[in-house]
């Protein structure tokens, strides 16, 4: 006879799995951050971690979309704020990293190159983040509309 799994235990397993995933992801981010900024490791040395992080994020997004759970429950203006803050963060981190590696060069050029690099960094991260956020936002909205339509049909049945 197959033993039925206790629903409380099942719920607890799910909770623990979620916590473990959060901890692992946090370690992954710290690991990438540490390798890229505090040590002078090559990009290739943490590319697998980066792929893992991207893969897991993509998996979460796809699962949410397939299940029909609303990924983005905020208005468009908040999305723009999110893109802006993410770009600022990426620029700040990239700026610190760039300065620690090439500070003597920047000092020689009276920091004009440094500001230029920061500008390019912000612009490119803003465009990239914008494309990703907008893409997820559009797909998510389309999926929600599909579900609403299906629910409307069922409701009026």
């Amino acid at each position: 006879m197959i033993k039925k799994i206790d629903e409380r235990v099942k719920l607890f397993q799910g909770k623990v799995s979620g916590e473990v995933l959060s901890i692992l992801l946090a370690f992954l981010v710290i690991d990438i951050f540490y390798k890229s900024f505090f040590t002078n490791f090559e990009f290739q040395s943490y590319i697998s971690e980066l792929y893992m992080l991207l893969g897991v994020t993509l998996y979460i997004i796809i699962r949410y979309l397939i299940a029909g759970n609303d990924l983005i429950q905020v208005k468009g203006s908040y999305i723009f704020g999110g893109i802006f803050i993410t770009s600022i963060l990426v620029t700040a981190i990239g700026g610190i990293s760039s300065y620690s590696k090439y500070h003597s060069f920047y000092i020689q050029n009276n920091f004009s190159t440094f500001w230029f690099v920061l500008g390019i960094m912000f612009l490119s991260s803003f465009i990239l983040t914008g494309i990703i956020f907008t893409l997820v936002y559009v797909i998510n909205n389309r999926r929600q509309k599909q579900i609403d339509k299906k629910l409307d049909i069922e409701e009026n049945d």
Partner: protein
């Protein structure tokens, strides 16, 4: 198994799925899934739905005439 009793009770209260969802604090999708029998709600959610629809647990979630 579809939960027609819940759907009828909701319609009698003149509520759509969105209204009921916001009263009990879930998404419309969750209400839709409960009514279509594709999701088993927790006891707390069942109680919240019963309170919102002025019905008892027996009336909405028990019995053989759920088809």
């Amino acid at each position: 198994m579809k939960n027609k009793k819940m759907k009828i009770a909701r319609l009698e209260k003149d509520l759509n799925q969105n209204d009921l969802a916001s009263i009990v604090g879930v998404t419309r999708q969750t209400i839709g899934l409960i009514e279509s029998g594709d999701y088993n709600p927790s006891l707390n959610l069942c109680i919240a739905i019963c309170k919102a629809l002025d019905r008892t647990l027996d009336e909405l979630f028990w019995g053989n005439d759920n088809d």
